[in-house]
């Protein structure tokens, strides 16, 4: 019994030790590479540094119409952000008429915000480089099919212009369309200074007329995909609504990182102090609780990193609370064991009945808090949500480690040590 228990205990210690080592230092065996935990946790903007902006649509639209407008706007912003080459942007519709854009690790955040929120960056330029139309004049751009010279239905891009655009476009087409040289009839479509299409107006002699109804068609040797791409680009050049900056936050990368580093350091120091405290007060069970706490910490950090939960400052607060509660579950159990010992029970039966009797309060208190965590996650926004998710993970981890791991470890040690010496169990 003693030898068997000792071997299992040493094995468990080795696993915990190895896991801790990997978590702190990372690991590389052959092709398998595990990064250290500190770098593999996704950080929220307040820790990673970056920018977020909440934009509000300035529109009277309601209901379905508004929903459609917002979805359209979101797609356009996504395209613009893609153009910035930012990894893992987070773009979401918030409430009814707001869009939240989160960009991590941007060098010039202010510039990024301006680029995202601009109503129009698309320009139609005549051969003399006068701007004829801008993106805001384009009401819609879509793929359509039109018979070409060979009599086949071919994909084209159809444009629909607003009032002002229609007028300007009528003027320019009237001016240009009579020119014999094709080069003089080109209207360049420019997005962010780059020509994305250079269609020429069709010469009057071949049947072209000035375009006065605000509807134009770009033909070319497109396949559907190409036409679609061009239509999207043109649409992206014009947001369907004016966006008003509602909230912006820019956090320099060094500041966020400092907050993270210091929070980790604080967490480490706090854990060590808690280990010392628990060991002094509860002796052997205190050491067991410390081991459980290490596993608990590993468990939550790995869960957070593998679920891809973005850790924020309020999230760290949630974690600290859950550490407090993880300790609490252990304390509850050990106090019960101590009471049982003082009643004169043997260590083995005291450990057994102590766990059993503490179970209801551990479960009831944790589930009540878990309910709060779930509600906060479900109904909350932004920081409230982040807090909720870490609280949920923390409580589940704390219940598992305190109820199962602590009990198992304590059972092993009771099997190894002298059954009569109650002092080392905190009595």
């Amino acid at each position: 019994m003693k030898t068997r228990n000792s071997i299992i205990l040493i094995l468990i210690l080795a696993i915990i030790g190895g896991w801790t080592f990997v978590a702190i230092n990372g690991m590389k065996i052959g092709k398998l590479e595990v990064g250290n935990i500190k770098n593999s946790i996704d950080l929220g903007l307040d820790l990673a540094g970056g920018v977020y902006v909440v934009l509000e649509a300035d529109t009277d639209a309601k209901g379905e119409e508004l929903q459609k407008l917002m979805n359209q706007t979101k797609v356009i912003i996504e395209e613009r952000v893609d153009g910035l080459g930012i990894s893992e942007p987070n773009i979401s519709i918030e409430g009814e008429n707001r869009i939240r854009v989160e960009l991590a690790g941007v060098d010039d955040p202010q510039e990024a915000i301006e680029l995202i929120g601009k109503t129009a960056q698309l320009q139609f330029v005549d051969p003399e480089e006068n701007v004829v139309l801008t993106g805001k004049n384009v009401v819609n751009a879509d793929v359509a099919f039109q018979q070409n010279q060979m009599g086949v239905d071919a994909p084209v891009v159809s444009l629909e212009l607003d009032k002002e655009g229609t007028k300007n476009f009528a003027n320019i087409t009237e001016k240009l369309i009579g020119k014999p040289d094709i080069k003089d009839r080109i209207v360049y479509i420019v997005l962010d200074g780059e020509v994305i299409s250079s269609p020429a107006l069709e010469y009057v002699e071949t049947g072209g007329k000035p375009i006065t109804d605000g509807r134009a068609v770009i033909t070319g040797n497109f396949d559907v995909e190409e036409a679609n791409h061009l239509a999207t680009l043109i649409r992206a050049g014009s947001l369907p609504v004016e966006l008003i900056e509602h909230q912006t936050s820019v956090i320099g990368p060094t500041l966020g990182l400092e907050a993270y580093e210091k929070s980790i350091k604080a967490g480490g120091i706090a854990l060590i102090l808690i280990f010392i405290f628990m060991t002094i007060i509860y002796k052997i069970p205190g050491i067991v609780a410390s081991l459980s706490l290490i596993v608990y910490t590993l468990f939550i950090t790995f869960t957070i990193s593998s679920l891809g939960v973005k850790l924020t400052l309020p999230g760290i607060a949630g974690l600290i609370l859950s550490i407090g509660m993880a300790v609490d579950s252990n304390v509850l159990i050990f106090e019960r064991i101590r009471e049982e010992l003082l009643l004169g029970k043997t260590t083995r039966s005291a450990v057994d009945s102590g766990f059993k009797r503490a179970l209801t309060s551990v479960i009831d208190s944790n589930i009540t808090t878990l309910i709060a965590g779930i509600v906060l996650y479900y109904f909350g926004i932004g920081p409230i949500k982040g807090f909720g998710i870490t609280l949920i993970i923390g409580i589940i981890a704390s219940m598992i480690t305190s109820i199962f791991l602590s009990k198992y470890l304590l059972g092993l040690i009771v099997g190894i040590t002298n059954n009569k010496n109650k002092k080392i169990y905190g009595a």
Binding site: Q110, L273, L313, G324
Partner: protein, 287 residues
């Protein structure tokens, strides 16, 4: 410890703090952070001391009434707070000027802009989530214990929140998103703490059905006392370390949490159980 005998004294201590908080609230109101008022906050870690006058020289062009204070352990941080909703362009120019004149690193700058309706929205969401979770917890406790335990736990919870809010008004702490995180944490901790004691009272009731209610409550609390104190100590250890080691934002969070945790412990012993006792007695009298 005879809690029931002195229950009025304990309640008075809490009421005095809450009353003080209320008075300070009437005099000063909340020190709202820009999350709630709307405005612009720029935080610059200059790495050296820049005097308020020097900073004001740059800032006055954008907002003459902006408040400028120092932060960080060596006053190397500048915190500029304006109630104006400065444009991005303005913020950029302001930072550029600081860079030119004081050689600050642009990467050590933090800027935040909030429209005035945003704070209201977060506040509403927070209040809504707290209400819903309170109701949900009340239902669970009623199901597992009884309604009176649930009611007493919720009253203790309200007590902790009021105490924490009072501390915010008394010490003029900024009411911002950390405040919301703190209130939420207290919500979780307070209930947890209270339930543990109620669990013990429930057990005492079952084991000694003939015992007087006074003794049942006192025994329940006293049996849990070591646990309550030890748990609180470990949580406080974590928070104190966080306060000492952490950055400014974390400190702002750690302080109210500390207050809330202490209040949560206090209320679970001195408020929740006496309230439950009174609710029980009231029923016995009328029955």
């Amino acid at each position: 410890m005879d809690i029931i005998k002195n229950k009025k004294i304990y309640l008075m201590i809490s009421l005095i703090i809450i009353a003080l908080g209320l008075v300070m609230f009437i005099i000063n109101g909340f020190n709202y952070g820009i999350e709630f008022t709307g405005g612009t906050l720029i935080q610059i870690n200059a790495g050296k001391f820049i005097s308020v006058d020097e900073a004001k020289n740059i800032v006055k062009e954008f907002d003459e009434n902006a408040s400028i204070i120092h932060g960080g352990s060596n006053k190397e941080e500048l915190i500029i707070k304006s109630t104006k909703d400065l444009s991005n362009n303005d913020v950029n120019r302001l930072i550029d000027k600081f860079q030119k004149e004081h050689k600050i690193n642009k990467k050590s700058v933090q800027a935040e802009k909030v429209g005035p309706s945003m704070g209201k929205e977060i506040k509403n969401k927070a209040i809504l989530s707290i209400l819903i979770s309170t109701i949900a917890m009340l239902i669970y406790i009623t199901f597992r214990f009884e309604f009176k335990f649930g009611l007493a736990a919720v009253i203790a919870l309200a007590h902790d929140m009021l105490i924490t809010i009072s501390v915010y008004t008394i010490f003029k702490l900024p009411v911002n998103s950390s405040f919301i995180a703190a209130i939420l944490t207290i919500l979780g901790y307070s209930i947890n703490d209270t339930i543990v004691i109620f669990d013990r009272i429930r057990e005492e009731l079952r084991l000694n059905p003939k015992e007087s209610l006074d003794n049942v409550v006192n025994n329940g609390i006293n049996h849990c006392l070591r646990r309550t104190i030890n748990t609180t100590i470990t949580t406080i250890i974590a928070l104190v370390v966080l306060y000492i080691v952490g950055v400014e934002d974390v400190k702002i969070l750690a302080l109210p949490l500390l207050v809330g945790i202490i209040s949560g412990t206090y209320s679970s012993i001195f408020i929740a159980s006496p309230v439950w006792y009174d609710l029980k007695k009231y029923k016995r009298k009328t029955a």
